[in-house]
Symmetry: C2
Subunit: 84 residues, 2 copies
């Protein structure tokens, strides 16, 4: 399982689109706050494996390219811990 | 934009995995309650266009195959309207 505090420190790049507290300011982008951490981790892994295309998938692929499995688990734990 | 009440009536098939009120009982599946409706609609369209694979994507593709653009907008409006 991911580390919430480590995830908070690794989440800076996420905030531009997904909001400072995981509440997106852009309706087309998903809120992350309070989402199931296991699902968030799955989604990040899916981007990394090239299983998603269209929309902002290319942007997400670029971001996750620099993330390790641990990084993705940590960030997922962090957003899952936030109040929706 | 979708019709919340119509979406509620069309959401029966979603509840098995995403919960009666859009809160998933399975951590690997996403909560839908309070998610941005525009994002939910985008995600449904992405499944329909074959832009997502892996995980439960095949299950989602099977479900959305029977949904019109209006159906997807309605269901998205409904889940977006629920308390997260």
């Amino acid at each position: 399982d991911g580390d919430i505090n480590a995830g908070a420190q690794k989440s800076a790049a996420c905030t531009a689109c997904h909001g400072a507290q995981g509440k997106s300011s852009v309706p087309l982008y998903p809120n992350l706050a309070g989402q199931n951490a296991a699902y968030l981790n799955h989604a990040l892994q899916a981007y990394k494996k090239g299983e998603r295309s269209g929309g902002q998938a290319e942007v997400m692929k670029a971001f996750v390219a620099g993330l390790s499995d641990e990084d993705m688990a940590d960030v997922s734990a962090y957003y899952g811990s936030l109040k929706p």
